[in-house]
């Protein structure tokens, strides 16, 4: 390797928690010495390892600009998007990287997302119109104030950092969890939506909002400024209201909503 003569190659130690199910009975740390420049992200550090040192290292990534939500991992113990975290901020190292906490590791830095994807579907993340409208009646109008109620909750990129920040999810992964519940709230709180009753059985179930104990770390780690803790906790009020008002005005059973 011939480096340009006017630059000194700086290196940083990157330790990765490896897990290869065909050979490891449990995850093991492996250390790499990585040449870096000031503009390199943690993801680029991993790419350097994979391209030039060890092709067996597995990790997910796609957009490199914090919008696809693929490259979430624990960087020095904190849930981070690795494309958005820079090696220069982690000096002098070593940088310890491991797969997102609270999820089962499939291979190296890759976690299983099946349950999370099921949860996303279970919250019915689409608008269930409050009133049927004909095409000729025109579009559904929304005021800026109505949009503001849902806007931040609609910024979720499904990166699952909030799940890696949620000890309740780590202890019981049946918990619907911060991300999916924030998405549920995004639709419930939409002025055009009338699906709250359909989402209520899941929302008020034991694995719904009541599994949350307001740790609040989910909202701290979100790279998109979503506040899942707020979405979950204000729905405890809605779930309680639904429970008690249900005694006063019995209504027809709604289908669905099981996790």
């Amino acid at each position: 390797m011939s480096a340009p003569t006017n630059t000194v190659t700086k290196t940083i130690q990157i330790e990765v928690l490896r897990y290869r199910p065909e050979q490891d009975s449990e995850p093991v740390w492996q250390s790499y010495t990585v040449p870096y420049t000031d503009d390199m992200s943690v993801l680029q550090g991993l790419q350097q390892i994979k391209d030039d040192q060890d092709g067996t290292l597995s990790f997910r990534w796609s957009c490199r600009m914090a919008i696809c939500g693929s490259c979430g991992m624990m960087v020095n113990g904190k849930p981070k998007l690795s494309c958005q975290t820079f090696l220069r901020d982690l000096l002098p190292g070593p940088v310890r990287i491991e797969a997102l906490a609270h999820f089962a590791i499939e291979r190296d830095l890759i976690v299983g997302v099946d349950k999370f994807v099921d949860k996303l579907q279970s919250v019915k993340p689409w608008i269930i119109p409050k009133e049927k409208r004909e095409l000729s009646q025109g579009e559904y109008i929304q005021t800026p104030a109505q949009l503001e109620k849902i806007e931040q909750f609609s910024s979720c990129i499904n990166c699952m950092l909030c799940y890696a920040a949620c000890p309740q999810y780590g202890i019981d992964d049946n918990f619907v969890g911060p991300g999916a519940l924030a998405l549920l709230h995004r639709y419930n709180a939409d002025s055009r939506d009338g699906g709250m009753d359909e989402r209520m059985p899941l929302l008020r179930a034991a694995e719904g909002v009541w599994s949350c104990t307001a740790v609040g770390y989910c909202s701290e780690v979100c790279p998109k400024g979503v506040d899942p803790a707020n979405a979950v906790n204000q729905n405890k009020v809605n779930a309680a209201k639904d429970y008690f008002l249900g005694w006063l005005k019995p209504k027809a059973k709604v289908e669905g909503g099981k996790a």
């Binding site: 897990y19 199910p21 065909e22 050979q23 449990e26 995850p27 113990g77 904190k78 906490a101 609270h102 089962a104 590791i105 499939e106 299983g112 104030a145 503001e148 109620k149 920040a165 000890p167 780590g170 202890i171 104990t213 307001a214 740790v215 609040g216 770390y217 909202s219 701290e220 506040d227 803790a229 707020n230 906790n233 204000q234 405890k236 009020v237």
Partner: protein, 136 residues
């Protein structure tokens, strides 16, 4: 190399000692533990009410017990726990309630937290004033 190649075998990491993993979790545990101080103080007060119902001698005995050095130390611990509990709950309060708006602007979290403290201070002063007035 293994003779039998296993291509999958999801590995679930242990949650043992999870709260020591991150300072944020430790703060959360302190918040939850400080609830014990609040409960402890409530029990002491309820015991006082019970003694009051048992006649003058019982009541005076409880009052005397409250003045012992051990009791004062316990109450200082309760007070500290109560302050920690209030502080940590007022910090999370903005996340636990629906967004509030004032004059078209969203009320910032810090305002909600400060309002919590203001109410606490006023309530404490009122309680103290009533107690002082009663004693006079």
């Amino acid at each position: 190399m293994n003779t039998q190649v296993k291509s999958r075998g999801p590995y679930k990491r242990s949650m043992t000692g999870w709260w020591k993993r991150d300072p944020f979790f430790m703060k959360y545990m302190v918040r939850e533990m400080s609830a014990l101080a609040v409960a402890g103080y409530a029990i002491v007060l309820m015991f006082g009410v019970l003694r009051l119902s048992q006649g003058e001698a019982a009541w005076n005995g409880w009052l005397a017990a409250m003045k012992s050095p051990l009791s004062i130390l316990l109450h200082l611990t309760f007070l500290l726990g109560m302050v920690v509990h209030a502080k940590s709950w007022f910090e999370i309060m903005p996340k636990t309630m629906p967004a509030m708006h004032s004059g078209g602007q969203r009320v910032p979290g810090s305002t909600i937290t400060r309002t919590g403290w203001a109410v606490t201070v006023v309530a404490s002063l009122v309680t103290w004033a009533i107690a002082a007035w009663w004693k006079a």
